[in-house]
Symmetry: C2
Subunit: 205 residues, 2 copies
DNA sequence: AAAAATACGTACTGGTCGGTATCTTTTGTG
DNA sequence: CACAAAAGATACCGACCAGTACGTATTTTT
């Protein structure tokens, strides 16, 4: 492995990331990825067995990068709510492109058969939902949250993803407003409450 | 337009729906759609200008079908919470395949340029989110919910979609349990609460 | 029942793209 | 500096597929 290889591989991954974000899997050609990286298709096939391998490498690399950021937030100290807010802020502060990588798995998962398929799902889950789950699990232990930890994590991730729409950006003036909205929805629903005099339905005869 | 046409068109739409659900847009061929419908590619191109037109027709037809169901639930009487539960139940009771149609827009939206693109988005939004929004808006009027109505609708839809995962199906014994989870998360967060003594952060000097 | 119009089938084309074979260039090493 | 090994470029192939041209069959209309 020459020293130049690493640079070329990095350029190819970077180029692939941008292209797969802007177009569907099938619409991105190897020639295009290579050209955009400043090399030729031959070079690309020298480093990656095929298109699928390049895609997988790209996605795993991109997700790993995000995972490390989220992990730091998940392992930080403070209340469950503070840590979750911290993680979400990291997420929202990623540039638009960087955030959209998280959506790629959902979009492209149908392109692959099952060995690869679940490999990609695991990569995604370990990057975001599992990091959320670390915090959520602590929240449950501390009596602040109740429910299935994994399901709550997915729910939280789903709510956060709503903030990625253009509409949400227009509604909220800044990220703090977004964060407040997200945590309000999530906690005041999932948190244990001191039921203030007979909240829920009472079976009336 | 001969009488036979309608049947052929319906068969093509049905066939296309099944295939586009099982494979990515680019991986579904016109020959395949036609064969699966019991006709040939020539027949398909007689009724649809091109692959894109067939896809659009299929999706709009499928979404319209769902929309009518949701609309009925949205227009039903009862409390905001009851109506939302009713709509969600209708959604969850659709077969797996029928529900997954709702995800197609998200998956395939990148395949199209902007006239078509927003056309598909509108079709989706009018089918589900806008029906939810009808209920949510009433809830806000009645002082049961607070926040931007459209954003709340999207949030609710996002939470419901979490229930479509295989894991959620395993966690909950039945649909009632799912419904309870979803409404608990959504309402107890979005509903106005009688703040029980100094809930949120107080600026400490 | 002839004519006109619509529905459908068959066969083909033009272009694209993933992948490969092979040649040239660059880089590390003794 | 020689020379092997890796990196990269070029040219090409085979497969596939959207779309078309044109023919035949089946309805409707008159």
């Amino acid at each position: 492995m020459h020293s130049k290889s690493l640079a070329t591989i990095a350029k190819l991954l970077f180029s692939a990331e941008a292209l797969f974000l802007s177009k569907n899997y099938a619409d991105v050609t190897m020639t295009e990825i290579a050209a955009n990286a400043g090399v030729t298709k031959g070079a690309a096939y020298h480093h990656f067995a095929n298109k699928e391998a390049l895609y997988i490498a790209m996605l795993e690399s991109a997700l790993q990068e995000k995972k490390e950021l989220f992990q730091k937030a998940a392992e930080s100290s403070g209340t469950c709510r503070e840590r979750l807010t911290r993680l979400t802020r990291v997420f929202l502060e990623l540039g638009r492109e960087k955030r959209d990588v998280m959506k790629l798995v959902r979009r492209d998962i149908n392109n692959f058969k099952d060995p690869v398929r679940s490999q990609l799902v695991r990569a995604y889950q370990s990057a975001l939902p599992e990091q959320i789950q670390v915090i959520v699990t602590d929240g449950i232990r501390d009596g602040l949250l109740t429910g299935d930890p994994r399901l709550l994590s997915w729910t939280y991730a789903a709510i956060v993803e709503v903030m990625l729409t253009g509409y949400a950006e227009r509604v909220f003036e800044n990220q703090d407003a977004m964060l407040e909205f997200v945590t309000r929805i999530f906690f005041n629903g999932a948190g244990i409450k001191h039921l203030p005099r007979g909240t829920r339905k009472r079976v009336t005869a």
